[in-house]
Amino acid sequence: MEHRSLLEWRESLRRREISARELVEYYLERIRRLDPKIKAYLTVCEEEARRQAQEADRRLSAGEDLPLLGVPLAIKDNICTRGVRTTCASRILENFVPPYDATVIERLKAAGAILLGKTNLDEFAMGSSTENSAFFPTRNPWDTERVPGGSSGGSAAAVAADLCAGALGSDTGGSIRQPASFCGVVGFKPTYGRVSRYGLVAFASSLDQIGPLTRTVADTALLLQVIGGPDERDTTSWPEPQPDYLAELEKPLSPLRLGIPKEAFGEGLSSEVRRVLEEALREAEKLGHEIREVSLPHLEYALPAYYIIAPAEASSNLARYDGVKYGFRAQGRDLIDMYKKTRSRGFGAEVKRRIMLGTYALSAGYYEAFYRKASQVRTLIIRDFEEAFRQADLILMPASPTPAFRLGEKTDDPLKMYLSDIYTIPVNMAGLPGLSLPVGFTENRLPVNLQIIGPQLADALVLAFGRALEAALALDLKPPLE
């Protein structure tokens, strides 16, 4: 019964072929057995999950029908869960227990989902390998010598290793899509504002978006249906209601124009990844879709602009961690000394690097040259996409320039690490929906994902095409763990 999809589990639960309690025990047993190798979880909510399962079984017996009733999920540990510590994989929030649920958690609970545990990440979601976790790195279920990607590496690895039925991650510059690619799972960053950010611990507010990591596109559609939609607590959330994503997946797909940006298939892309992606494009053509070249002329400026805007927002968002109100506090001689020691010891190297970068970029005399210029570049990137979407219905790009790399391979070179997100960052900059879909393997049997990008609020179309390609490829995505 391993590696069943969320929708399959849901059907089994509904038909009472399995109880929620049995399903929770199934996952708790796998976590006990496999997670010491993978280290996907920071917190496992054993007792609470069992209690919730009992409640779900009671409701299932009573004939209640909720979209996720009895389904155990893993949540990235930068999403606030009431009564369950939410650390952001940082010393500074090691013992922070939120007194409230994020909007997405409220919605999952209202839909009957069970919170199985909180997953590892790069500290405050800053990183591309989950090696920046203050606690421990997570390993890739396809090769435990390799990283699972990041920052949602814990969630991606938990889904890949079947340590949960599905998971939530967050994506600021590729943090769902890149680990999905490294771990061979489906990862989706919805249109910016489609999912409420209330309760997501902010990294870069104008780029952050919560999204699902699952084993199938349909599972992603189901999770998005539950967590997405307008939220009055987040003024950046879209007021438009959501379509019925699962119903949209069932509709026949008319032939699409698929845009391939020439800038995204040039230098920097590993030949193995290129080979897998090209095969996937041929498969798409076989489905009756048209492949055409498009151009995103400012693509190369996305990464440098991102590394101004994201750290600038981060330097502001992370100012609140000062030892005064919650979390870690170091003792100091006076207030300033306490601030300095708390933040010096509480934050890891990468977080401090980005706080410094961002503080500098916003400083008097540098703002114009850095932050404002980067914002202008961002506008150019948005226009590039708008132009490209006149030529194409969807845009296809790599999800990552390489397959999963080895632990420690890039930790000494932040710039090399930053390049991992070269194809995902532009999508955050433009606020577009991006699906990371498994499309094949390297010769060493490391998964490779394709990124499918749609216009704003075209989430349903992106998922529908992803689903069609997924069905055509019919990959076996079970890692060789046992």
């Binding site: 939120p98 997501l200 005064v324 207030l335 916003l362």
Partner: protein
């Protein structure tokens, strides 16, 4: 050499909205510490601000009242500095696109009217309060005030004296009170003022080096601080020493200012647009809806009082300085249509009581009916003006009906001509020397006789009637 001061004021007014600017917590003053606090206003991880649109309504009222240009799109920005009373370590404020720019406030000093231009009006959130326990020693943070809405009103450097500064502040306070958006209480901090001051040789067009003054929590402090600071700066210049750009604190105990931080220690606030809040779009419909809610403003009311009631400028200015007082006046005039008499009574008897208690008229039990009744009693000759003044404090304090009070106290004045004539004859016969003086041409002694009659009747005689009778008797 003669110098002149150049002053610009930055005023913060706390708005009287029910809830805070970015969350649903109550914005009311006076609760137990941290009882008006939630994840949003305490800056918990993951919390997000949502704009209270009522704050924009209130801000628009002021913008319209002072004729400022309202920006069709205004943007919230983050202003960064570390301090424990600021939970996010940034304040949500406005920077590049404030709510409104321009406009002016008209003041009057020494009979001269002058317009003080405004630079901008913007919305922002208040910080919390630190409570220090020196004995332990430990400091606590009270977040009740965190997120209470503020308007910052920045004036042009158009102010030239401490008197003008106070007149500007008082006028601004009158306006925000008229608009019902702020209670204007400086002592409690719902209206706060910082000043930028420089001096320059009179006639010069260039600005001198400016100093920022803080910690002035009353009109008197503002005046004293500015007076001291102007003298200090002129003193430096006369000695050939430079004025240093810095922030100085006013010390009310000594009436002086001292340096708090220099230019080098000034914060770099690192403003940038707050990505958690979408830009606020203010269309004509929104502006018109607010405009329709606007009350008549003090300057317009003052003109109308002069025109409609024939009041002198002085009376109109005082009566319209407070909206409740102006409304009280108009209610009185409806009941007793002699505006100048009503005005005189309000400006003397009523304001004396209000100033003594430091209250607005609508915070007392006094009713327009009471004042009108009292004036009617005097006008009808039922009581003397002296008697009216005597019983007014009781009417004010207890809200008693003046007519009843007059009856109870037997204050009805004697208007029985025969009875009064008897008393007058008595007084004349008792004072033959004064009668002689009158007859010799010193008509002024009649006042002495009136006084004597009033004494004998214990103030109850109708003085007008007594005067007539005495004149008749003396001229016989």
């Amino acid at each position: 050499m003669e110098f002149e001061a150049v002053i610009g004021l930055e005023v913060h007014t706390q708005l009287l909205t029910e809830s805070k600017i970015f969350c649903g917590c109550s914005a009311r003053f006076g609760a137990e510490p941290n009882h008006h606090a939630c994840p949003v206003c305490t800056g918990m991880p993951g919390s997000l601000p949502v704009l209270n649109r009522r704050v924009v309504d209130f801000a628009l009222r002021l913008a319209l009242a002072v004729g400022a240009r309202i920006n069709p799109v205004c943007v919230f920005a983050r202003k960064h500095y570390f301090y424990p009373d600021l939970p996010k370590n940034y304040q949500i404020s406005q920077y590049e696109a404030p709510l409104a720019e321009g406009g002016a406030i008209e003041i009057e000093v020494d009979g001269k009217r002058k317009k003080i231009g405004l630079v901008r009006i913007h919305m922002e959130e208040d910080a919390g309060k630190l409570v220090h326990d020196e004995a332990r020693p430990v400091s606590y943070v009270d977040f009740n005030r965190t997120g209470v809405p503020l308007l910052e009103i920045v004036s042009q450097p158009d102010i030239r004296s401490p008197e003008e500064a106070v007149a500007y502040l008082k006028k601004l306070r009158t306006i925000v009170r008229y608009l019902g958006i702020c209670d204007g209480n400086m002592e409690e901090g719902s209206l706060r003022c910082d000043a930028n001051v420089s001096v320059r040789p009179k006639g010069s067009e260039e600005f001198g080096v400016k100093v920022e003054l803080k910690n002035m929590n009353s009109f008197r402090h503002v005046e004293r601080a500015l007076r001291y600071e102007i003298k200090r700066q002129i003193g430096l210049l006369l000695e050939g020493k430079p004025v240093v750009q810095e922030t100085r604190l006013f010390d009310e105990a000594t009436g002086t200012t001292h340096s708090m931080r220099g230019k080098e220690e000034a914060h770099d606030y690192r403003y940038f647009p707050d990505p958690d809040l979408v830009p606020v779009r203010i269309d004509e419909a929104w502006i018109e809806r607010v405009r329709a809610e606007l009350p008549e403003l003090p300057d317009v009311k003052r003109e109308r009082f002069m025109r409609e009631y024939g009041l002198p400028a002085y009376d109109a200015e005082i009566l319209t300085a407070s909206r409740p007082l102006a409304e009280f006046f108009e209610e009185c005039v409806k009941l007793f249509p002699q505006p100048k008499k009503v005005s005189n009574w309000l400006m003397t008897e009523v304001l004396r009581e209000l100033n003594r208690e430091g209250k607005e008229i609508d915070e007392t039990g006094l009713k327009p009916e009471h004042v009108a009744e009292l004036l009617k009693l005097v006008d009808e000759g039922v009581i003397s003006i002296t008697a009216a003044k005597k019983i007014f404090p009781e009417v004010y304090a207890t809200g008693a009906d003046p007519r009843k009070l007059v009856e109870e106290r037997g204050l009805r004045q004697e208007s029985d001509e025969a009875a009064l004539e008897a008393v007058c004859r008595e007084v004349l016969s008792e004072n033959p020397a004064e009668v002689e003086k009158y007859k010799a041409g010193k008509k002024g002694v009649i006042g002495f006789f009136v006084g004597q009659v009033m004494r004998k009747t214990r103030g109850k005689a109708n003085p007008k009637l007594v005067n007539q009778i005495l004149t008749r008797l003396l001229e016989e």
